[in-house]
């Protein structure tokens, strides 16, 4: 089986119009009872199932997905991977994930095209540069790579950046994490799906969870559009739909669902070979391996499950990108899209138990959970298999809100529209 993707197979495919490729995972039917049912076939849910089977020997696992796997935010994000956050709890969490990214293609025997091309924050003012220098110091103290760059170094790295003193947002320097970069979003879902399937995990697509079966205060399974499925544990992993699905169990979360958009231009020759980000503007730009410039901006700023963005926010995002890299104004945009993100009330994820027994949550990843995919799955699987949180995930429990232990990266309080 492992020889299925080879140079020879590719050559043979080229002669036959590439029509011979078979399915990479079974189209499983519901076959309960399961030890664990994971709700949501995004990267996080598939990774959770994979690590349950590979690390903990829990083999009777199903992933139920209402559409097709990877069709949610996994397939809609701008694929930036980095661990250079501000808060120590997030630094630990995302560094754990980044280390897994570094070995992921080997681990899954599937090329996820992880490309550590460097993730650069721009500094536009003295205040920005002070902030970035502090951030770099705290990261290095944590053992995470961070390098402060002066203007000349930034200019060398991104020659097309408008570094003139009259620029709309003048650039003074930057902070780079060289181990950061991008990955191929679909491949992450497919790689985890294929590897989990080989370990016996049932991946059940076109199967929406519509309710829970219960015995007292314990959850015993899920009701779905393809019937009732019994489960020892149920693991919610539905990104933007966390509020809706928890609501089916009568649970309210510190989460609001908001829309986030992104866009891509026509493919061009290599022009930006690092990830450019500005946290003062909330603008992020990279070039895909196909050549398209992929970029995004702020969330739309009001609750929505529509997966449909507002033109005014798209315009803002494009204006910012063009101001930073004026050459982008010459390109045509070929697509824009949006995803529903679960904006948590401190901006950090929620990983752990819910008030009902045997019901667990991994959500609240806001607009930044793609980078966490391997780590999130790994830590959630640990929690589900052992019944207690992994030390790295422990600070991210739901109880933190009631006791004032929030992890507020942006320092704005319970106001998702201001993140």
């Amino acid at each position: 089986m492992s020889g299925r993707y080879s140079a020879l197979a590719l050559l043979r495919g080229a002669l036959g119009g590439h029509r011979h490729w078979g399915r990479a995972w079974r189209a499983a039917e519901p076959d309960g009872p399961y030890d664990v049912v994971v709700i949501g076939g995004g990267g996080h849910g598939l990774a959770t199932a994979y690590y349950l089977a590979s690390q903990h020997g829990v083999r009777k696992v199903a992933v139920v997905e209402k559409g097709w796997i990877g069709g949610g935010n996994t397939g809609r994000n701008t694929t930036i991977v980095r661990s250079n956050y501000r808060q120590p709890q997030l630094q630990r969490l995302l560094e754990h994930s980044l280390k897994l990214w570094e070995g992921l293609s080997d681990e899954l025997n599937y090329n996820v095209m992880f490309s550590p091309r460097g993730a650069l924050f721009l500094g536009h003012s003295d205040a920005d540069m002070t902030r970035l220098a502090e951030r770099g110091d705290s990261l290095r103290a944590m053992g995470i790579d961070a390098e402060l760059l002066d203007l000349a170094a930034v200019r060398r790295l991104v020659p097309l950046l408008d570094c003139s003193p009259t620029a709309r947002w003048p650039v003074q320097g930057g902070l780079i994490q060289r181990r950061g970069g991008t990955a191929r979003h679909d491949a992450v879902a497919w790689g985890y799906a294929r590897a989990a399937d080989r370990l016996g995990v049932d991946i059940i697509e076109n199967c929406e969870v519509t309710g829970f079966t219960r015995q007292g205060d314990a959850v015993t399974g899920v009701e779905t559009t393809r019937g009732t499925i019994a489960a020892g544990k149920v693991a919610i992993c539905v990104a933007g739909h966390s509020g809706h699905v928890a609501g089916l169990a009568g649970i309210r979360l510190p989460i609001e669902s908001h829309t986030l958009q992104a866009y891509v231009t026509e493919p061009v020759k290599p022009m930006i070979d690092t990830v450019i980000m500005s946290q003062s503007l909330h603008c992020y730009i990279s070039q895909s391996d196909k050549g398209g410039i992929v970029a995004g901006g702020d969330p739309d700023g009001f609750p929505s499950y529509a997966q449909r963005g507002q033109p005014m926010r798209l315009e803002d995002a494009i204006a910012q990108a063009i101001a930073l890299v004026p050459a982008l104004s010459r390109l045509r945009m070929v697509r824009c899209w949006s995803g529903v993100t679960d904006m948590s009330f401190d901006g950090s994820p929620i990983i752990g138990d819910l008030p009902l027994r045997n019901l667990h949550l991994n959500g609240g990843w806001c607009y930044g959970g793609f980078k966490a995919t391997p780590g999130s799955g790994h830590l959630y699987a640990h929690h589900l298999a052992t019944g207690s949180p992994h030390p790295i995930a422990a600070p991210f429990d739901l109880a933190r809100f009631a006791v004032g232990r929030t992890i507020d990266e942006a320092g704005v309080g319970p106001m998702p529209q201001h993140r």
Partner: protein, 87 residues
């Protein structure tokens, strides 16, 4: 984009408005800790209708309650938010 019928100014473009929070998230000074916690952190976040507080920030600066469908984006009603609803 939304066209919001401000109770004071009439129909205006969404750009002039800002979403603030849901109506059930107002914390009142006399609230017991549990009720205050729920108002701060527990959201119904329905995949359907909810009551939301918006402000005509770049207009009359007045506050209002929108009943909105979060899937179709239809605005079902707009009413001014009076002092009786404020904490």
């Amino acid at each position: 984009m939304l066209l919001i019928d401000c109770p004071h100014c009439g129909p205006r473009a969404q750009e002039e408005f800002g979403y603030d929070r849901t109506l059930d998230s107002l914390v009142r000074i006399e609230d017991a800790p549990d009720a205050a916690m729920a108002a701060l952190y527990a959201r119904a976040n329905p995949r359907g209708e909810d009551d939301e507080i918006w402000r005509h920030t770049f207009g009359c600066r007045g506050w209002m309650v929108l009943r909105r469908d979060r899937v179709s984006h239809a605005i079902l009603s707009v009413r001014p938010l009076g002092p009786e609803a404020l904490p």
